[in-house]
């Protein structure tokens, strides 16, 4: 494949997670920013090997959960104590105790939606197309192979040097990926 201007990046293939991790550390230390590692399962320690920070999904879930709890409490207070008060057995029109179980469930419901939507947002998913999904060998990334992809849009990317770097990590298959 010729390294034309339509190149998306360089892809290097590895057979084991250990080899991949060594290679990832090397790429990280070379200062690349627009690159990624593709594995059939999450490899433990890879976040550190790639120099990534802790995921922010927790914040989305927290905001979701807090919204859920407030929604439950406000909804029950407004419905049963304000909009149409129904006296039952001399009980108070609104009590945080009686309103707790539904609010608790809504906390969990909204928290779960927050976690999932937050994860999808941070991952920019769903997407219907990705240049890598057209690449022939890349289908093995969900099977039993491990890949590193360095994108051409990385400011440090240079056709020959980047390929040399990947070669020095011990990868046997290095190819260009068309955009």
């Amino acid at each position: 494949m010729s390294e034309s201007s339509k190149l998306y990046g360089l892809i290097a293939e590895f057979d084991t997670p250990a080899a991949l991790m060594h290679a990832a550390e090397k790429v990280r230390d070379s200062g690349f920013r627009k690159w990624d590692v593709f594995t059939p399962f999450p490899v433990h320690g890879m976040d550190k090997a790639m120099g990534m920070r802790n995921s922010k999904v927790g914040w989305f879930s927290f905001i979701g959960g807090a919204t859920g709890y407030l929604t439950g409490m406000l909804m029950i207070w407004w419905m049963n104590a304000v909009d149409y008060a129904i006296p039952v057995g001399g009980k108070p029109m609104f009590s945080p105790h009686g309103a707790f179980p539904p609010s608790y469930e809504l906390t969990i419901l909204f928290g779960a939606f927050g976690a999932i939507l937050g994860m999808l947002f941070l991952n920019r998913l769903p997407r219907l197309h990705h240049p890598l999904l057209k690449h022939k060998r890349f289908a093995l990334a969900t099977h039993d192979r491990f890949f590193i992809v360095i994108e051409t849009s990385d400011p440090k990317f240079s056709g020959t040097d980047t390929r040399k770097l990947l070669e020095s990590t011990g990868s046997k298959h290095i190819e260009g990926v068309e955009d």
Binding site: A18, S61, H143
Partner: protein, 475 residues
């Protein structure tokens, strides 16, 4: 640090062979084999046993729809529900089915938080079981209210009378608990499926398969930047599902415990119901997975060790349930309330004594077999015992619902409940629905979490020789 630099006294030797844990995937199978084996179930020709099972379950499901049509068009009078037992079989079946679901969430969420890696072999199928069991459960409260078409009054939607639901009632809490439970279980299951749907997409030979698996895998590539957010979201979902599953059956038990009826009005109900739910759920997981591991040739992934561990959980929760039975009887006596005492005396020696002793046999005595390794490793024996667990837990709910209602405070309010044929057909019909859904799941989705099973093999560990680590290296 190199090998030579460690003083010999500080060296930790590998454990002796007999203390090594049995591997989670047998015969050192690698990630490629795992993909092939699990996807193969979906990609291969539909096996004969599947058609046999489907040809039974599908008509049974159709029968359920017919019975429901008859029920809704005629009225709840076709059931045995009548004064004083107004709850009858629908609520027994509701609690039974929803309890079954609890094992799925326990396996997927609580065992995840406890880092029990063996859960990966069974969680997908158990979660599917949860979802289908909750679907079956959801039918019953809706149909037994009489005018099923007004079921939406339970939701806080403005209606023509401008009246809102009454949130001081535990029945309202139940609506929120069960609908949240269903939604979150479904989301959790789907999130777990996304990377495996990508596996299916990348293996697809036909266009339609590639399109559908591709669509539902949301463009998953296996990127580590994605995995990082994904794993965090999965952990949070497990963390949210744990208090959720404990709350669902607690709230179901409050439907009973908040009333003043002897036999229902007890503080032990929430933990007792949760333990019972997990117990019955594990019974159902064993009932489903023991034949499946054989039929789908998954003995190397759902190993004998997996079955043994599930037997041990069943024994543990079964013991909690047995303790609750004992404590119920003790408190009935210790309370000094003649009504309480009578309620429990009546359960054991009244007109429903056969139900009580079936329950004791199945739930207290049967799990005791699980103390023995010989039993736990005998698949046929475990399978038979697991069915007893399912039966026992149905009778537990029968005893709680029926005996308490049939003997109230006033003898003039006493009665005897007997189900009609429609009660029985509805219950059988829900099995049709459950198994039809489960069989379709087996046929179209990977029944084992492919990427999660790969992740717990030594081949996935960059610090293990099988994962490519060199001796003496820092990985």
């Amino acid at each position: 640090m190199s090998e030579a630099a460690i003083p010999p006294t500080l060296k930790i030797h590998a454990p002796p062979a007999e203390l090594e844990r049995e591997p989670l995937v047998e015969n050192q199978r690698g990630p490629g084999w795992i993909s092939d084996q699990i996807s193969g179930i979906v990609e291969g020709k539909t096996p004969k046993w599947w058609w046999v099972a489907f040809s039974i379950s599908f008509p049974t499901m159709l029968m359920l729809f017919a019975v429901l049509a008859y029920l809704i068009s005629t009225g709840v009078g076709i059931y045995g529900n009548n004064h004083p037992v107004m709850w009858g079989w629908p609520i027994v079946n509701f609690v039974w089915w929803i309890g079954i679901g609890h094992a799925g969430t326990l396996i997927s969420a609580i065992l995840f938080l406890l880092r029990q890696k063996w859960r990966t072999g069974v969680n997908r199928a158990a979660e599917a079981m949860t979802i289908f069991a909750v679907m079956c459960a959801g039918i019953f409260p809706l149909i037994h209210i009489g005018r099923a078409w007004l079921g939406w009054w339970l939701f806080p939607i403005p209606n023509a009378n401008s009246i809102w639901p009454q949130f001081r009632s535990p029945l309202m809490w139940d609506v929120f608990a069960v609908s949240t439970y269903f939604t979150v279980s479904l989301l959790f299951w789907y999130v777990g499926l996304v990377p495996d749907l990508a596996v299916m997409r990348d293996r697809s030979k036909t266009k339609i398969r590639k399109f559908l698996y591709g669509l539902f895998s949301l463009g998953w590539t296996g990127s580590n930047r994605h995995w990082s957010n994904y794993e965090k979201a999965y952990l949070i979902l497990a963390g949210l599902s744990t208090p959720l599953v404990l709350s669902v059956h607690s709230i179901v038990s409050l439907d009973f415990a908040v009333s003043n009826l002897p036999g229902w009005h007890t503080t032990i109900f929430p933990p007792y119901f949760v333990a019972g739910a997990v117990f019955s759920g594990f019974g159902m997981v064993l009932t489903l997975l023991i034949p499946l591991r054989r039929l789908c040739k998954l003995e190397e992934i759902i190993t004998v060790r997996h079955i043994e561990l599930m037997c041990k959980v069943t024994l543990a929760v079964g013991s909690i349930v047995s303790y609750a039975y004992g404590m119920e009887v003790f408190i009935a006596w210790y309370s000094g309330s003649p009504y309480e005492k009578f309620a429990f005396w009546n359960r054991a020696f009244g007109p429903y004594w056969w139900g009580y002793w079936t329950m004791i046999t199945c739930n207290v005595l049967v799990p005791q077999f699980f103390w023995f390794k010989k039993v736990r490793t005998n698949m046929l024996f475990v399978w038979v015992l697991s069915i007893f667990v399912n039966i026992g837990m149905w009778f537990e709910r029968f005893e709680i619902v029926i005996t308490s209602l049939s003997r109230e405070f006033l003898p003039s309010n006493w009665g005897y409940f007997a189900p009609t044929i429609w009660d029985i057909l509805t219950y059988i019909g829900t099995f049709g629905l459950f198994f039809t859904m489960f069989l379709l799941f087996l046929r179209f989705l990977p029944m084992i979490a492919i990427s999660e099973v790969k992740g717990v093999t030594p081949q996935a560990d960059p610090h293990h020789p099988l994962g490519g680590a060199k001796p003496g290296g820092h990985h």
